[in-house]
């Protein structure tokens, strides 16, 4: 088990460094897809299969497609930076060191005293099955019922984000060429 964990985390780190090194955007997009799949595998190890679904579908699937279509509209290579990268490197190292310092106080992985095990009131876990007519999934019960307001807000955020993207990106009605499907097919 530990071997898989170390291998996955090492691969994640290698992929991240590769993404930072590469200038060819096509390869960068493919590597971000690989990064998402590795993250999804990592989520499976952390017993969070629903997060893994989302990561695989959004991170590796949809966002890769969106980045590829963006690349088709812009350029295929990143400009070589002309400025010195000493200051950004310094900022990154300081931020990273702060984050690592922050993890020192955190409880160990799987520790029963961890806030994640203690703070959502354990009574939720105890009573959710009876409250929910025998539905065993506490996560769904929390998201959709106990915290139904939050999820309504999140759904509205998704809708608002979608409307914003459409307002920015959508072509005018007279520019749309859906009326010529065959010609479109040959060109694509």
């Amino acid at each position: 088990m530990n071997l898989i964990v170390f291998a996955l985390l090492a691969l994640l780190a290698i992929t991240a460094v590769a993404i930072a090194q590469l200038r060819e955007l096509w390869a960068v997009i493919m590597f971000t897809g690989i990064y998402s799949f590795l993250s999804a595998s990592w989520m499976i190890i952390l017993d969070a299969p629903d997060v893994a679904f989302t990561e695989a579908a959004v991170g590796a699937g949809i966002s890769t497609v969106l980045m590829l279509s963006t690349m088709a509209l812009t350029g295929k290579a990143e400009d070589i930076p002309r400025k010195s990268s000493v200051v950004p490197l310094f900022v990154v190292i300081v931020t990273g060191a702060t984050l690592v310092y922050g993890t020192l106080d955190m409880p160990h992985f799987g520790s029963p005293d961890a806030p994640v095990q203690v703070y959502p009131d354990p009574s939720f876990v105890e009573r959710s099955e009876a409250d929910m007519h025998g539905l065993p999934n506490v996560v769904t019960a929390l998201l959709a019922s106990y915290r139904g307001y939050d999820t309504l807000g999140e759904t509205t955020v998704v809708l608002t984000a979608g409307i914003a993207v459409l307002l920015i990106l959508r072509k005018n009605e007279d520019e749309q060429d859906d009326t010529a499907p065959l010609a479109r097919n040959k060109s694509s």
């Binding site: 299969p49 629903d50 679904f53 989302t54 579908a57 959004v58 699937g61 949809i62 497609v65 969106l66 279509s69 963006t70 088709a72 509209l73 409250d131 929910m132 007519h133 539905l135 065993p136 999934n137 996560v139 769904t140 019960a141 998201l143 959709a144 019922s145 139904g148 307001y149 999820t151 309504l152 999140e154 759904t155 509205t156 998704v158 809708l159 984000a161 979608g162 409307i163 993207v165 459409l166 990106l169 959508r170 072509k171 749309q176 859906d178 499907p181 479109r184 097919n185 694509s188």
Partner: protein, 145 residues
């Protein structure tokens, strides 16, 4: 993409299973891992895969943008409408306990909290599918300027 028979045949074989898995994640999310958001993105990625392989006009025939953009709002309407329904039935906003009923008890028709969760997850799933698909249309429909 008429020149890649393997990709087209494999896509046609895979898409039913992707969509079926999305429905499984949606409607079995009360029992197993999953829920509306996950199901929505899986369903949308099935649609987007179809659009990638068979072209934008083919996917727009299956999922017309004019319908999908209405579905974006429909999902939130189902979610909030469930809340309004519970208020109309005398409960609080999104308090699913008032949805209790005794229709066909042997068929295990969702009732009470189960029915409420079912409805709001359906709303989340519809909105997420529609938003992801519309964003794909918006990106893929543009030409280089």
């Amino acid at each position: 993409m008429t020149g890649f028979p393997i990709i087209r045949i494999i896509t046609k074989l895979l898409i039913p299973y992707i969509l079926l898995f999305a429905f499984y994640v949606q409607f079995h999310g009360d029992y197993g891992p999953g829920g509306g958001f996950q199901a929505g993105v899986i369903f949308a990625s099935g649609l987007i895969l179809y659009g990638l392989v068979f072209g934008l006009h083919a996917i727009k025939k299956v999922a017309p943008p004019i319908v999908i953009e209405k579905c974006m709002a429909l999902g939130v309407l189902i979610y909030a409408g469930t809340g309004v329904l519970t208020m109309a039935l005398g409960g609080k906003f999104l308090d699913y306990s008032v949805l209790e009923h005794d229709v066909l008890p042997h068929w295990h028709v969702p009732s009470g909290q189960h029915l409420g969760i079912f409805l709001v997850e359906l709303g989340v799933g519809i909105t997420v599918t529609a938003v992801m698909t519309m964003i794909f249309y918006a990106f893929a429909g543009r030409k280089q300027v």
